[in-house]
């Protein structure tokens, strides 16, 4: 574990500063962005806009939650975008047999694909990026073959309980937002307080050392990829409930968004260091940037991509720089 407070000599002042920047940089940036946006646009701080942003952030946030675990173990999961879309279509198809099927079917299929990813990575020691790249392709293929090459759209009955999960509101806030918050609290508790969470950090910090200390390295890895698959499938199902249909073209590029959010949130791509809350902040920051670009109006979505890409590069540069400084000192 690379937590600075664990170092025996005690952190120096600049070490503490760079650790602070890594932990809270995204939050400060988010606050600045929100303040600037609400001063610049009257339309930003309206209930509708905030609600819309919160709900659309919720789905990405659930995907990013699973991705956070994977990245802390030092891995990466490129299949989440395809699994998100596959989960949505399976949920929409399954919703005709009731809410239980609509939720369990995507969880079962996406969880199984995540499990296979994990087994290939942990037991057969294949590179995570190539395994999940193949899964991305394969899951998209499965999705296309169950929707007649993407031409068939399954609809969710608007009056079903399943649709309520996506569209319902509790205390004026959309149900997906509440579900996401609950998942994040659970995720944070697991990562910070459970033995499994300790193993996740240990495996990402130094795999050989973790194995020597008796951490079940392979089992931990299999679990995080399964978790990531489950999260992506659940996010897809919730999204289908919100849209009341399973849209086949969703989710492409989502793996990039999720990775960006996690990295922006302060989790190191080299593994061993990261926070659940940071990923939530990362998602919100990405969505605020998108929202601002939309509000400017004259700038189209192409600029969104340029800005997101440049932003990711900047954050990674800053991270590498901060990380290097801490190692050197």
């Amino acid at each position: 574990m690379k937590k600075p407070e664990d170092e025996p000599t005690g952190p120096t002042r600049s070490e503490r500063l760079s650790a602070l920047a890594q932990q809270h940089g995204a939050l400060v940036t988010l606050l600045v962005a929100v303040t600037a946006a609400s001063l610049s646009f009257d339309t930003f701080l309206t209930g509708d806009n905030l609600e819309n942003m919160a709900v659309s952030s919720a789905f990405l946030a659930v995907v990013a939650l699973g991705m956070t675990f994977v990245i802390i173990t030092g891995g990466i999961d490129l299949s989440v975008g395809s699994l998100f879309a596959l989960g949505g279509v399976l949920a929409a198809w399954g919703s005709q047999y009731g809410t239980a099927v609509a939720l369990l079917l995507p969880l079962a299929v996406c969880g199984l694909i995540g499990l296979v990813n994990g087994l290939l990575i942990a037991r057969s020691r294949l590179a995570p990026f190539i395994v999940t790249l193949a899964a991305m392709l394969g899951a998209r293929g499965i999705l296309l073959s169950i929707t007649d090459e993407g031409s068939k759209t399954y609809l969710v009955d608007k009056d079903s309980f399943f649709a309520t999960l996506g569209q319902g509101k509790v205390l004026g806030v959309g149900a997906p937002v509440w579900i996401t918050l609950a998942l994040f609290v659970a995720g944070a508790v697991v990562l910070r307080r459970s033995r499994f969470g300790q193993y996740v950090y240990a495996v990402g910090g130094n795999e050989d050392a973790a194995a020597l200390m008796g951490a079940p390295v392979a089992r931990t890895k299999v679990t995080v990829y399964t978790l990531s698959g489950l999260c992506a499938g659940l996010a897809g199902a919730l999204n289908a409930a919100w849209l009341v249909s399973g849209v086949t073209i969703l989710g492409s590029g989502m793996e990039l968004e999720a990775i960006s959010a996690v990295v922006i949130g302060g989790t190191l791509l080299t593994g061993g260091f990261g926070f659940i809350s940071g990923s939530l902040v990362g998602v919100l920051l990405l969505k605020v940037i998108q929202n601002v670009i939309n509000q400017i109006g004259s700038l189209d979505s192409a600029y969104q991509q340029v800005v997101s890409g440049a932003f990711l590069a900047l954050v990674v540069i800053a991270q590498t720089w901060l990380g290097r400084r801490r190692r050197v000192l």
Partner: protein, 320 residues
Amino acid sequence: MTDLALGAKAADRERTLRFLQNYGVYLGVAVLLILNIALTPHFLSAENFRTQAVQVAPVLIVALGMALAIGSEGVDLSVGSVMALSTSLLSLYLGYGTWIALVVAVIGGAAIGIANGSLIAFIGVQPIVATLALMVAGRGLALVLLPQLKDVRDPTMASLGSGAILGIPYLVLIAAALALLVAFVVRRTTFGRQLLAIGDSRPAARLAGLPVRRVLILVYVCSGALAAIAGVLATARLTASDPTSLGNLMELSAITAVVVGGTPLSGGRVRIGGTVAGAVLIQLLTATLIKHDLPPSWTQIAQAVVIILAVYAARERGKR
């Protein structure tokens, strides 16, 4: 006695595995060719071979650059976006003359390569993340420059896309020439040797005094420029610039070709012959499925299975 017999068996097994790893891709191509000749009507015609070869050319050119990146223990996810960027630049500059437009398009690709390489070599960002950032930003940039599909009406481009010498299309000739050139660079030049040394072990290469940064940047410049050339050629063939969809999922196809061709992801080795065969294998697989009326989605699933099998085979070898 039994130990010896067991040892011999293990050695046999290892030899088989190594053979499959090195030549499996050629075997695969041969099997697919034989199957198609036997089972697919109208497969054995010059016209069909020409079509297949023309379709494989852009993938192969991108895969050549990808092979260099993977050989240096990296990867380049931005290649699809670079293709889109090159097609946008080409359309924008066609007014100034075809050749100027071509040069600008390729320089644009090389510039993305410089950005990738600098992030990786100077700042120490992992290749997958650096090129991910430019994958997103590059596609956006392409769309900012050219928001939608635009027809390319240019006689030089048209002849580049559909012309042929002695019945062999220009596209195929260019791809073959580039494959030979890259193979020569890898095997016979200092740059090639340095690249492989860096892919083998970057710390060792640094200790040996190799110009690690310069070589890494050059690797990604090559990859960017090759992707841009592929983008230009694809544009010439389609006679239209389509920055929205050109090069989509190209990084996947290129990585598949390289990995299936026997270049290990762990770097230090580049197999150009295998990469060519790998690209042909994917193309034949796709063509076979389509010609037998199987839906395109099956191609993706088949490709995924082929990737995993290839990497799995490589693992068996690497473990020993």
